[in-house]
Amino acid sequence: MQYEAPTTVDQAVALLKNSGNASKVLAGGTDLLVQLRSGMIEPELIVDIKKIPEVRSILKEDGKFRVGAVVTGAELGEHGDLKAAWPGVVEAAELIGSTQIQGRASLGGNLCNASPAADAVPALVAAGAICMIAGPNGRRELPVGAICTGPGQTSLSPGEFVVSFLFPIPKPRSGDAYLRFIPRTEMDIAVVGVGIHITLDAENVCVDARVAVGAVAPTVLLVEESAAALVGTMVDDASIDKMIAAVRDSCDPIDDKRGTVVYRTQVAGVLAGRVCRIALQRTRRHE
């Protein structure tokens, strides 16, 4: 195995392109190192992208946040402005693993590891974040929800990697939130995770909603029916109940060591209700 730490995006793309499928991109490494150690993967080349300034920084472009793919959870949590704009995204990123993991784990790694239970992904999908992807054919943009195609599988072509995430400017009366369920208080993989972003108009009517659910299907689900249950309502108890029912209807989980089909489906609804109420509260946070 060879280790390379390029300092520009172009160098990284060249390395990845030349090695084809035998290479792996190293972001924070908190999943990759475990896979390497267990023999699950045996790449010939590791391309560490952390020496590339562009993937390490948080910038503002025309009022929009652009967050580098390897910015760590700890760094996100310390960025007051980003946290104020997208509290749900930041709280999701901060839930990934322990303090130690927070020192390394990143949005890009969490997304491209393509676990259905990744904490950051439902929040990113709910936020409508866009990935900037670099590759042999230049750069392209894709919504976060289009990256993962199944457990451990992404739509990235050989030689491509995620450089950064672009977040929309939050609307004045909008709010996002993320919660996950784990058996302990820390250190577990999400049994279910729910990210919700809602926007109200001046009359407190919901004009936009995005409800994303993790760990209940091979990829994170964006549940249109749940959004439809909220849009046009005052996000009252009855509409939240409808939204919850739609979340449960959309769930197609598996029985595994972390939870059962019945349990995941039930708790997805419970969390959706709780998350929705937090997001609703946050629509008023700038008032």
């Binding site: 369920f181 058996p183 302990r184 250190m187 577990d188 060591k257 708790v267």
Partner: protein, 769 residues
């Protein structure tokens, strides 16, 4: 944190006023090494020319080994030795004690290296020593094994059925009545009790009978098994390993490898947790066999996955408990039928489980029957009060339910039925001065028990019992020429025993604590020592250390008598000095320890205090726990809000480390009750062989654990010590289950009470309403 002392006599009380060290919270002598990273644990030793050993393990839960071909692996450059079943001779069936459990040499040799069959996923069947880990792993991949995969059985009830696949084809149930004439997976049947339970149940106004199921749990020590073996060309061998008993390791390894015991010197490294799981051998005989073949030192360290798959968990069990009581709260009869998983080889702790089940109760009619059952799981090892947490969980759950039915406070109910001094225990002996009633009374009076609960919260109580053991220890006190002392013991220090032993010796000698340096000697430096287990070290090694100190004091008095030329009977030893009884001085008024040490060459030679004993008189420890919980009704997650441990220590030599035992045991019990379990797939492969999905409690899962140390002294120990290490893990399972029942009005009879199980029970209860 509080200490409640029941004094046996005024004499002891007077004595206690004068303790310099016993009962204080001194800094442990090994502490600085452990906070600076200097302490050397099992994997921390590097020897020149050292090889790395790695184990090949079975991917199957049950399979016949048709062939093992190591020819390609042997040819790999850098491979220095490979061992398989061919390198270990077969041993006859012979049971020997290991901790509080028994092991059989025929089985140990098959567990360290599979012979005819692999019996669980992770069962070792070959090992490689190579120049580095990368080469060793490559070599493992080149070993070809042909298996005939066999059906497997994991569940204890399934394994007992006549049609179950046989794990050992020739196993006849020991203790069966009538005697077994056909092989089965039931290795043993045991029965304890007295009276006639049918008579007892006939007198009952209320009878509760329930069935319980629990899963295996792992001891969860943070340090994986590790050792370094070095065998020279002439067969003399050194072994460094993380173990609770290096003498026991020496004995097992010498037997398995056909060596003279004295040719093997074992040094115990610092041990990173054991809880009973490091009382047996796994890597050690294999590393020695590899080193013998390679004539180079070999280091072996388990991965965490190997620890989970191939080192001893505690038994899972199926249990049935029936208790009857009169309307006024007197238990008339108790019965427990216990089926314990042994793993792939016999020897589950079902005998102690059956013995402990009803120990907290003074019963006229009682019966506990246990079955030791083979399943295709790793062979169980001792885990803190082995066998007792689950049998007492079942009994204490039913006791709580009976009390509830009778509308009697659970502590009141226990007090009405509690074992006291003189009670004939259900397993036979009459109890001496035990402290159960004192723990119940202290729990009842505690602010925790008196405080109100918020709506939706629940409170649970349970008591627990463990025997504790004595056994063989040897201690030497080597006096230096400046009057400082090396205290050498042979029981590895797993939780601060060097502190408590040093304090007792300093107390006896009347010297400053820092003049006594306690250390763990290797197997060649002392007489035999049984292992650190059975909560015996502060009690048994402690008694021997006190006797060694008294031996040294008597020599010091003799030397003083010689110097002053007076009869030794005229010499007193007080506060580290020799005095003459009649007050007349010799050339000096007193002779200090230092004076006598400086002159020892002229007064008779080296001053060495020694004692070697098989210590009798171990006294049991009882505890009572109180816990408050809240339950998230929508997700099924149980939160521990408040926890109090009350336990009898006899005498707390170092109260901080006694509290530490109480707190650590309680939190292990919280894990057992709420989340820890072995999860297997349909092929019998362990799915959660890592800390991520095994889910031991983390720091944010638990509150502070309040403690009350009750002291009802043990007359067989010079300071009254009873062992404290194991009892703390016994009450939590039932205490938490009882608290959840109190919160939800739902009785649980299965562990762990993980969120999916709790939520399913809540759903079932609401749909049945």
């Amino acid at each position: 944190m509080a200490i409640v002392t029941k004094r046996v006599s005024d004499e002891r009380e007077a004595e206690e006023q004068n303790f310099n060290w016993v009962g204080t919270r001194a800094v442990r002598p090994d502490g600085v090494d452990k906070v600076t990273g200097r302490a050397k644990f099992g994997a921390d030793l590097h020897l020149p020319n050292m090889l790395v050993g790695k184990m090949l393990r079975s991917p199957h839960a049950h399979a016949r080994i048709l062939s093992i071909d190591i020819s390609s692996a042997e040819k790999l450059p850098g491979v220095k030795a490979i061992v398989t079943r061919e390198d270990f001779s077969d041993l006859a069936s012979e049971f020997v004690p290991a901790g509080e459990m028994m092991v059989n040499y025929r089985d140990i040799t098959r567990n360290v290296m599979a012979r005819e069959k692999v019996l669980y996923e992770g069962h070792a069947l070959a090992a490689v020593a190579a120049v580095n880990a990368i080469v060793a792993r490559e070599a493992l991949a080149l070993i070809q094994v042909d298996y005939e995969v066999l059906p497997h059985v994991l569940d204890v009830v399934e394994a007992m059925k006549p049609e179950a696949v046989l794990i050992q084809e020739d196993l006849l149930t020991d203790g069966a009545d009538p005697p077994a004439d056909k092989p089965s997976n039931i290795a043993k049947r045991v029965e304890f009790g007295h009276g006639d339970i049918e008579t007892g149940f006939a007198k009952a106004d209320v009878i509760v009978e329930r069935e319980f199921n629990t899963r295996p749990v792992h001891q969860g020590y943070i340090e994986p098994h590790a050792c370094v073996a070095s065998v020279s060309e002439d067969g003399q061998a050194e072994l460094w390993c993380s173990t609770q008993g290096h003498y026991v390791v020496r004995g097992h390894c010498a037997r398995i490898l056909g060596m003279d015991v004295a040719k093997l010197r074992v040094t115990a490294s610092e041990i990173g947790g054991g809880f009973g799981g490091k009382t047996v051998v796994y890597l050690e005989p294999v590393a020695l066999a590899l080193s013998r073949k390679a004539c180079q030192p070999v280091k072996m360290v388990m991965t965490r996955e190997e620890v989970f798959k191939a080192s001893g968990p505690a038994s899972g069990a199926n249990m049935r408990v029936k208790i009857g009581a009169t309307r006024d709260g007197r238990i008339t009869a108790g019965e427990a039928i216990l089926h314990y998983q042994a793993g792939a080889f016999q020897g589950s702790p079902v005998p102690p489980g059956a013995q402990c089940a009803f120990a907290p109760y003074d019963l006229e009619h009682v019966r506990a029957v246990g079955f030791d059952v083979l399943v295709n799981r790793p062979k169980v090892a001792a885990y803190r009060a082995p066998g007792a947490p689950i049998s007492e969980y079942a009994v204490e759950s039913v006791v709580d339910e009976v009390a509830k039915k009778l509308n009697i406070d659970p502590i009141e109910f226990r007090l009405k039925n509690a074992s006291r001094e003189g009670t004939k225990a259900s397993h036979g002996p009459k109890f001496g001065p035990i402290g159960l009633v004192e723990t119940l009374e202290a729990a009842q009076a505690h602010d925790h028990y008196q405080s109100p609960l918020q709506p939706g919260q629940g409170r649970g109580v349970a008591s627990g019992y463990w025997f504790n053991i004595g056994g063989q220890s040897s201690v030497t006190l080597n006096t230096s020429e400046d009057g400082t002392v090396a205290l050498v013991v042979g029981t590895p220090d797993i939780g601060g025993s060097r502190a408590s032993l040093g304090m007792m010796v300093a107390e006896e000698l009347g010297v400053e604590l820092d003049k006594v340096r306690p250390m763990i000697g290797d197997t060649s430096s002392l007489g035999y020592n049984f292992l650190t287990g059975g909560s015996r070290t502060t009690f048994a090694t402690g008694k021997v250390a006190v006797d060694a100190a008294r031996d040294l004091v008597s020599q010091l008095r003799e030397r003083a008598a010689k110097i002053w030329d007076v009869p030794v009977g005229d010499i007193l030893w007080h506060n580290g000095e020799a005095l003459q009884k009649n007050g007349r001085g010799g050339p000096t008024e007193t002779l200090s320890f230092r004076d006598l040490a400086e002159s020892m060459g002229k007064t008779g030679g080296p001053l060495v205090g020694q004692a070697s004993e098989n210590v009798q008189g171990a006294a049991p420890s009882f505890g009572t726990h109180v816990v408050d919980v809240d339950v998230d009704r929508e997700t099924g997650r149980v939160e521990i809000l408040r926890y109090t441990v009350v336990q009898d220590a006899g005498k707390a030599i170092h109260p901080s480390y006694v509290e530490g035992q109480y707190q650590g045991g309680a939190v292990q019990g919280i894990g057992w009750a709420l989340n820890e379990e072995y999860i297997y797939d349909s092929e019998g492969r362990l799915e959660n062989a890592g800390f991520l999905d095994y889910r031991m409690p983390v720091c944010s899962d638990v509150p502070m654990i309040d403690t009350v140390i009750v002291e009802v002294p043990n007359p067989a120990h010079p300071y009254g010590v009873k062992g404290v290490g194991e009892t703390p893990i016994v009450p939590p399972l039932a205490a938490i289950s009882n608290a959840v029942a109190n919160a939800l009005g739902i009785r649980f009879s299965e562990l762990p009470m993980s969120p999916p199980r709790v939520l399913a029970a809540i759903a079932a209860a609401s749909s049945s309403k």
